[in-house]
Symmetry: D2
Subunit: 249 residues, 4 copies
């Protein structure tokens, strides 16, 4: 899933076509979440995947709308309902009582989501060496450590438990002019919640508005939006993400 | 999800419209798996949900095709790939080594799926009192007890781990003329695998061809195809499923 | 572990010798927790285990001492330290942050233990059909259902996480004159905490002082004090516990 | 638990007294497993713990006794029974079916333990970066990665499931003249099984006889024999283990 999400396609100034070395046929399809997926059969040996594009961005930080309203479940559009369900890394059923105990007193809607992000951000300790592919939201809750995906999984789970549709996303986070970019650069995970009739960006890892997020894929959790899913051994040799600001004259 | 699956709609001799007492508006929509979902807001008090229909069935048991072929992952249609992924109740990642150890020596395709069903059927003990909403495939593997959904979850997980697309389904299982119906009747869970370009029925609980399965919903696991998903307290008072054979003159 | 605990041996008015039908040799030994364990090799066929005794009891309910003091870890006797550690059913490490968040504001010592009992008693729903041999304290925390042992496991885990030595116990609970005995009678599980230099009785399941507890065995959790531990198939056919008050003239 | 185990005390050529800088009172006691435990209250600031001793060793590798016999449970001494039970990191109950399936065909006794070590050694990938304090035997079984303690936890669990008493141990592993010592040196974990009336050393991590093991502590699992157990924040600054061969003239 190395393409920009269709919702940002209009902002692309050049196509973000995936290229491979050696060249192999790449099939592109749209999955059930509306993401663009590229699919290929790699030959034995080293494979280089890369793409390069320019995208128009507002330069504005993530919008903040403290009075964004939480719909009752009855009002929610049908297509948002699957983002209330448990998934591989988000055991909504196992953490629903905890969610109500922790966030039941917060005002519904935006303040409740913000309370969830504040809690996760404050209680979980970040560290790259904590990365573990099997860690679920419940594991994050008990272990209180993780990388960015772990923060989002726990926050997503709490939101769903409070009947707020929440989806896990991956994308680019250029972050120019706001804070020092993490070094080395990486793709990033954040999440979206459905309030007042649209999806809003939240990020329990950074927990403050950022500039330059470019959405790549949305899903129930990291299972659905892995940057690469390999069938067969595919050890990662080098991994490089570069996002630069290109100002218009 | 009380409707017959669209793939069987042509067999319906009368519409299988969901009715409620007291009457409340029922909205119908198709989810991302292609299932027909009915949605309603229940008022406080007792709610009765019922539907009634007649469906044409071949009367033939589940087809058996021992030479149904397992496609390589590269050959699989894109829309089947999500049925290789882990999900809430199917931790494919955690059981993949076990699957290879247990079933790696079985011939690919139909014989491998059958080996999986045989193993699950033989190793897991059925009992209604073992029902537990939080039991995952890994729990079934370690506890070795369960109800029908548990059998299918473990089998689905093993199939996915062997790169065979597998989906969890619910439906009616009338079973006239083959074996004594379970008493009382219930909806049933089974699963489907993708071999030789189509989906085939398997059932790790019963592990033999049955007559009269009527598909209602397909999904990644029980999360996606719950008969009812309630937001708010909705204790079940009475539950009744009746399937009768109506012979054509 | 069908004998009365040595701490109550002086109260026995007759020996509580374990008898078997058919008669088989029974070896008795004391385990590392100070419990009396009986050990035997059963022949194939039905085995009846029974004992019968009379014990002197104060008739007083469990003592309540709201100013019982929580020692610092440095002050604790060495032999109590193992009751601070995690064990099979009590994942102290996984619930320590939750314990501090829930009970950190309660006054140390007795009030904190009482706060733990109140929480567990209120949040967990009792039901015999919820019995499950694999349920750990973390499972109780997430599922919020269980039988008496589950209530105690969660309370024990929270106490340990707050540096209060806590041990799981089993025994007779006659309960004459206080409340209707559960029907049918059973052995019961409760727990003890170490405050002000001694062990005190708490019971997160009933959460009120009871009369007539007779201690049988203490341990880290249910693993250590199972009434029977069988090696080989040993299905339980009938199980009967009778405790009657015998008043002195 | 920085002292040599009492079973090796006769081999000490100088006392292995624990010293602290700054000097604080150190209390020593024996725990229920027979280990020597030192206990102290550290003041805020840096604390250095060290000890230094010389111990006589046979220089012989771990004994191998392929005909060491597995006692029936009925024959086992009472004090070995607790090493058949589940514990925090060894969920014997959850892995007992798997153990029987994998090792039921191996000859009882030494060959069965060796089969267990071979399996764990072959299936689990070692890596220091896989270290995780919450990983249980079931996690090792599903994740197939770990550090030395994880290898032993899984092997111990499988042995117990096959009714072979098994205990987890920590100690020094000097290993001079047999294989390159790991760099930097560390304490090591291995395990012991009870066969033919005594405890034998096995090591699923290295899976071959080694020279110069010096036992420090035995227990049910890593919970019981942690080198240090701290109550309060105690970040480790530097950690150094040096074992040198001192030949007699």
């Amino acid at each position: 899933m190395l393409h920009v999400h269709p919702s940002r396609a209009a902002d692309l100034r050049e196509p973000d076509q995936l290229r491979t070395e050696p060249a192999v046929p790449v099939e592109t399809y749209e999955d059930s979440f509306g993401n663009i997926c590229a699919r290929l059969v790699a030959q034995p040996g080293t494979l280089r995947l890369h793409n390069l594009t320019t995208i128009e961005d507002s330069g504005q930080p993530d919008p903040v709308m403290p009075d964004a309203r939480q719909a009752s479940v009855a009002e929610l559009p049908a297509e948002t309902l699957r983002y209330l369900m448990p998934s591989r890394y988000c055991e909504v059923d196992l953490l629903s009582n905890t969610a109500v105990e922790l966030f039941g007193a917060a005002a519904p809607g935006w303040p409740r989501v913000q309370a969830i992000c504040d809690w996760v951000h404050q209680k979980v300790t970040f560290g790259y060496h904590y990365a573990r592919p099997t860690r679920t939201a419940l594991d994050v809750y008990t272990e209180r450590v993780g990388v960015c995906r772990d923060f989002q999984h726990l926050a997503v789970t709490f939101c769903r438990a409070m009947n707020i549709p929440a989806r896990y996303v991956t994308g680019y986070l250029g972050d120019i002019g706001v804070a020092a970019a993490p070094s080395p650069m990486d793709f990033s995970a954040w999440f979206q919640v459905y309030l007042s009739g649209r999806w809003w960006t939240f990020d329990a890892r950074h927990n403050k508005p950022r500039i330059g997020r470019v959405l790549m894929a949305v899903g129930r959790d990291a299972t659905d939006v892995a940057i690469t899913t390999s069938f067969g051994a595919a050890p990662l040799t080098i991994f490089n993400v570069i996002t630069d600001e290109v100002r218009r004259d």
